[in-house]
Homo-oligomer: 231 residues x 2
């Protein structure tokens, strides 16, 4: 008889990829577009999500949105989003894991699936744990990866955390309202970005002043539209 | 015969603690005080270390300093420090590990010991990988843990990353030159800090303008002096 060989899953990242594909299949069946938002701590992910939710609420044909919040402990951001926006928010805390996990992984997201109203939403916004290393290594079943990088973090971040910048489709360069008060060279940052991920899409935003937020919202709506066209 | 029971090391953190104690014994034998600097990416650790090295160089009885740089990839910070300061700098890259480790651990530091001129220095400054989660979990054999937290990161960070703020002895609150341009409530930040680490020592600094740097340098010199008195 012909022997069928099955490659044994080799490590934790293989196992993660397997579960991520299962998540993705569930999201696809429900017709939900999933965006994984990643950044360093304090880059402004939550505030950018707030600006996004505010704008989406004003649209005539607003997509139905859900939020999945990942934090080591607590639910500060989830509470903040749930308080002011009429969207279902689910919190994952990573602290029961090994000393507090520094990232979401596919299995954590899978364990949250029963709490997510997948049949009632079109778009799931996942806010990952603030960290520029491990979240990039663990796919969770997302359709898109968006990074937020604040200009206050310095021009060198793409060079120091290349995998993060390499595995995202969009880099939102946030806190540009602070540029006049910083020694931040945008051209050097963009050269560093192109060195690790040539030509990756990027946009300059200020979650605080609202500058650039229209383009940011359009990008998200475009991702949703492209998915609708494919489906 | 009486049976001697040995507790088996239980997990990766136990193994790390064992190696950290071995590192610490080697540092103690050489009379080197080791400070582990931790922060989120872009909080300003390297710039604060530069300010420190500049001041130390002007002292009549300057301590002999070495630097150990931890990064996922590259040696940007190590090159920066070595270019302008007459100190031995050793680089650890964590990327040969599991997808790029997000922290230094005791074994990485141990593997760097042969490259460190321990008999020629009094003070070893270790700049950890920028991350607010895992570096807090892995002791490396340090005498002191110092955190740098930038006001641009927001008031909520102690609540979101409690272990990091709980396991350090000093929190340097950096980038205070930007306070007039931010919606950062220092009193709220300090309340959050006290909620997770009541009364922890803290100081306000600006690596950019030099404000508060004298107190920062004094703290480091004090740590060195306390060790000399103990020895």
């Amino acid at each position: 008889m012909h022997v069928r060989r099955v490659r044994v899953v080799q490590d934790v990242l293989d196992a993660n990829a397997t579960i991520a594909r299962a998540n993705r299949a569930d999201f696809d069946r429900a017709g939900v577009v999933v965006i994984n938002f990643m950044s360093a701590p304090g880059a402004g992910k939550t505030t950018l999500l707030e600006r996004l939710l505010e704008r989406l609420e004003t649209l005539p044909d607003s997509p139905r949105v859900g939020v999945l919040e990942g934090d080591v402990q607590g639910s500060l951001d989830a509470d903040r989003l749930a308080r002011f926006h009429d969207v279902p928010v689910t919190q994952i805390n990573t602290d029961p894991g090994f000393g507090g996990e520094c990232h979401l992984d596919a299995n954590m997201v899978r364990s949250a699936l029963p709490s997510l109203p997948l049949t009632e939403i079109d778009l799931l916004l996942v806010e990952n744990v603030g960290n520029l290393v491990c979240p990039a290594e663990f796919r969770i079943g997302e359709d898109h990866r968006v990074m937020v990088c604040a200009v206050t973090e310095g021009e060198d971040k793409p060079i120091k955390y290349p995998l993060m910048f390499r595995t995202c489709e969009l880099v939102a360069i946030n806190k540009i309202d602070l540029l006049p008060h910083l020694d931040f060279a945008m051209d050097q940052f963009e050269r560093n970005l192109d060195a690790v991920h040539p030509g990756v899409e990027r946009m300059r935003v200020s979650a605080r002043t609202g500058e650039g937020v229209d383009a940011w919202v359009s990008w998200i709506l475009g991702a949703l539209e492209r998915q609708r066209v494919r489906a």
